[in-house]
Symmetry: C2
């Protein structure tokens, strides 16, 4: 595995792989890697000749009152994990190379960026779309891999790639969960042991929602009430949103009469946790 | 010369040229080509193995009260002009392929987009940046050519290319002028014969400004007053702005103590004309 920070060296390595006829698979991350990330790297490894992973905690996607400074980091662990999972090229850009003096360009995906997490975190998806577009332009992958845990992010990036005619495939990979069902997230480390134990109620409620729909429940309001009841039992929890949406447009649904997704965001102690599950997939 | 409308066929032709080791020069236009455009194509021809010209009247960069419907078109003339000037590939995308159903992504360059023409034409540079980025992603040029007549557009695109890490060179080419000095523009056809005759006062005032600065004039206010006096003499004219700016940041200057540019926009009858000249270049 080669580790590069400089953009010119990245471009050189990518160019060499291209010349050798290798396809390029790319996994952009903010580090503090867990099995969710590694599942993306494994998939990229299976699909491509060259696997590139980036680690960059992107300040542009954090709000002023969010956890940028506290965001967990573990570069030695990440690096050895990437190596173990067959990464060829680990890209660790410096902040002043990503956002040089006078930086003033941003990418906005309207509509699907403005609801759900976009409402709670204004500017978040603009920051995500901008940095991901920059990374795509640097790495020029054939395929890029994102976890479906961040379902709205996956939709925003997929739309951006289509709208901007980027010549690459965006691949969404299933959420990886802890044995008790909690979605893997770098932010789970913020949880106290008790909060951690109780947070499995989020995913349990989502599984229940899927089962209820399978059994014929079609009223979003009933599903949401059931989920709310479960999450309220988690100590120190505060619900941000519980939403049932069209799985393509994120349009809020009253009746579950098409491909739909139920999405949850809630604060548990110091952590803001998100999760989702497809209904009638 | 090959003419293509379909994006997949464009990508195929581009891919073949790339495989053959050709560098790609790109001239994006809105058609109704004149010697200004042809000077860009000539330059692209000198610099590159493959020359791509696009013609697309981009609705996203026109305001609701602007001249989109009236914008002049002459595809047969453009096509034979492109051929004469050595174009290899003429790309004529269809509007619904550029902006498919659900299109919702835009690119914004803050700061330098918001002043001058950005103030008079809100959303204009967002439309320009977005379509140019899309065209860059489709054509993947090594070099792209823009006329310096649209000085602010040149700065916006250069900044976008840097900020988004696009791997291409943006080349600004000198304004091409009519024998009497009027900057070549597709919009000059809107002028009546008398307006056309008198419109040379714009460039004459700019040349005068350059001479005055050369002779020691350093106060922007004096230069602007001189230009205003000239332009006011054009019949049916209405000044939009006369501005003297830092040539990199477009910051308005009171004192001409660095690389500066004087920019003018004015309505003459039905036409909105722009022109500019570098001072102390």
């Amino acid at each position: 595995m080669k580790t590069v920070s400089r953009i010119d060296l990245l471009r050189k390595s990518i160019g060499q792989a291209r010349s050798a006829g290798k396809s390029i698979g790319f996994v952009p991350t903010m580090g503090f890697l867990h099995d969710g990330h590694y599942s993306l790297i494994d998939r990229a490894r299976r699909d491509n000749g060259l696997v590139v992973v980036s680690i960059f905690v992107n300040p542009m996607q954090f709000g002023p009152s969010e956890d940028l400074a506290a965001y967990p980091r573990n570069l030695p662990g990440d690096s050895s994990g990437c190596m173990k999972h067959g990464t060829d090229l680990l890209f660790l850009p410096q902040e002043d190379a990503v956002y040089p003096k006078g930086f003033s360009t941003s990418v906005e995906v309207s509509g699907i960026s403005e609801t759900l997490c976009g409402k709670s975190r204004p500017g978040h998806f603009r920051g995500v779309a901008t940095v991901v577009l920059k990374l795509f332009n640097l790495v020029q992958p054939d395929r890029a891999y994102f976890g479906l845990k961040d379902f709205q992010q996956f939709l925003v990036i997929s739309r951006m790639v289509r709208d901007l005619d980027l010549n690459l495939e965006v691949i969404g990979c299933p959420t990886v969960r802890e044995p008790d069902g909690l979605a893997r997230s770098s932010r789970n480390v913020y949880l106290t042991p008790e909060q951690r134990r109780e947070s499995c109620r989020i995913s349990k409620a989502l599984f229940q929602a899927r089962d209820d729909v399978k059994k014929g429940e079609a009223q979003a309001i009933n599903i949401k009430a059931m989920i709310e009841k479960h999450i309220t039992l988690i100590p120190d929890s505060r619900i941000d949103y519980i939403s049932i949406c069209d799985a393509d447009s994120l349009e809020e649904l009253e009746k579950i009469d098409r491909r739909a997704v139920v999405l949850v965001a809630c604060h548990v102690g110091k952590a803001r946790l998100i999760d989702n599950i497809l209904l009638n997939p």
